[in-house]
């Protein structure tokens, strides 16, 4: 090696660049995986809604929560087939949003677009088969970019009374594997 210090600098910068890029891509996935594990009790509670209590100063599951919203989350896993999600109507702002394993919000259905009686959304990986009956019963069939992800319902409920109403409403919602039917 005639000029080892040049090789050293180039190689070090190359390693630094590669690891910088890799870290940037991996970091959101790691945090999302950690969130999915927290919200699903380490995978024990997947394909089922979890209705969070009112967001107070003790809430530590997700950063920067809104104390004015009632949140319900379902960590979905499409390994064994599609998942059916049902949402009940709400008298004010509400939305069902779907997040892929890389944090992308790839689908949102809010109360303005939702039928007055609520909606059923079927979530699947591209190519997973559905019967005609299942498709016909769904408001929409959505392809998830990742096998695991998070479904989240937000309901505007800034007061204690509205939160209690939201709590009663959301108890009737479903997040379940179609294979469990």
């Amino acid at each position: 090696m005639k000029k080892p210090w040049i090789i050293w600098i180039v190689a070090t910068l190359l390693v630094a660049t590669v690891l910088h890029v890799v870290f940037m891509f991996v970091y959101p996935q790691l945090l999302m995986t950690a969130a999915m594990n927290r919200l699903s009790d380490n995978g024990q509670r997947e394909n089922a809604w979890t209705h969070a209590p009112r967001m107070t100063e003790t809430a530590r599951l997700i950063v920067r929560p809104s104390p004015d919203l009632a949140y319900s989350s379902c960590v979905y896993d499409l390994t064994d087939g599609p998942v059916r999600i049902s949402v009940q109507p709400w008298g004010d702002y509400m939305s069902l949003s779907l997040f892929a394993a890389n944090t992308d919000n790839y689908y949102t259905l809010n109360d303005r677009r939702m039928p007055p009686s609520g909606a059923v959304v079927i979530l699947r990986k591209a190519g997973q088969a559905l019967t005609d009956e299942q498709t016909a019963a769904a408001f929409e069939v959505v392809d998830s970019p990742s096998t695991r992800g998070i479904a989240l319902i937000r309901r505007l409920a800034p007061s204690l009374e509205q939160f209690a109403q939201a709590d009663a409403t959301r108890g009737r919602e479903v997040c379940e594997a179609l294979s469990a039917e």
Binding site: P4, W8, A11, T12, L13, L14, V15, A16, T17, V18, L19, H20, V21, V22, F23, M24, F25, Y27, P28, L31, M32, A35, M55, T56, E57, T58, A59, R60, I62, V63, R64, P65, S66, P67, D68, D92, Y93, S95, S97, F99, N102, T103, D104, N105, Y106, T108, N110, R112, P145, I150, L152, L156, P158, S159
Partner: protein
């Protein structure tokens, strides 16, 4: 032989430290390629969307996981008052705003750990349903460790170097397409505990 091993090892160790360290620094300092500034508030055009770049995704994962895309909700955050000084939970601030072209809005205070400040006051936010606006749509509120005589109050007690988020749900396109022009509230420091000002 030992010299060669040390040569390669030093490349790997220092390269890894530089690569990961610079990535963490960018995430910590809120680097966003699609960053939009609006009078001390900031946001990103690509939060939550499938167009987000890796830097935005990384920042969102740290401070705004499960955020919605801007057609559904626009989120702005800020960490400083009108003079550019960092927020301090021991200080009193005046918030002044006007009508916003959105279905619903809220302003929430977060402590430095990005969670609601632990203070027992149960006053972490104000929102469009709780604030009484004047006839011209203008309104004001106070951010302070004590409520005092404020009609609309966000408690900053135990907030330390806090930050604020404003959420604009179902914004009209004048907001979601013109993020730098949204008439967001101003936040002016009035006094600080023990500072005599």
């Amino acid at each position: 032989m030992l010299k060669k091993i040390a040569f390669v090892l030093s490349i790997l160790v220092i390269g890894a430290a530089l690569g990961v360290g610079s990535a963490m620094l960018m995430i910590r300092n809120g680097a966003m390629i699609g960053r939009v500034e609006n009078n001390h508030w900031f946001t990103s055009r690509t939060v939550g969307s499938v167009d987000a770049d890796p830097y935005t995704r990384a920042l969102v994962a740290r401070i705004g996981l499960l955020g919605l895309n801007r057609q559904e909700t626009v989120y702005f955050s800020r960490t400083e008052d009108e003079s550019g000084a960092a927020f301090d939970g021991a200080c009193t601030y005046r918030v002044e705003g006007g009508p916003l072209a959105t279905r619903w809005w809220s302003i929430t205070l977060y402590a430095a750990d990005n969670f609601l400040a632990v203070n027992g006051d149960d006053q972490p936010s104000i929102d469009a349903t709780s604030v009484q606006a004047n006839a011209d749509g203008s309104w004001s509120a106070r951010i302070a460790p004590e409520r005092g005589d404020a009609a609309h109050w966000i408690s900053s007690r135990n907030g330390g170097a806090f930050s604020l988020s404003i959420r604009l749900y179902n914004p009209e396109s004048t907001i979601s397409e013109h993020l730098e022009d949204v008439p967001l509230p101003t936040i002016t420091r009035e006094a600080c505990e023990g500072a005599g000002q």
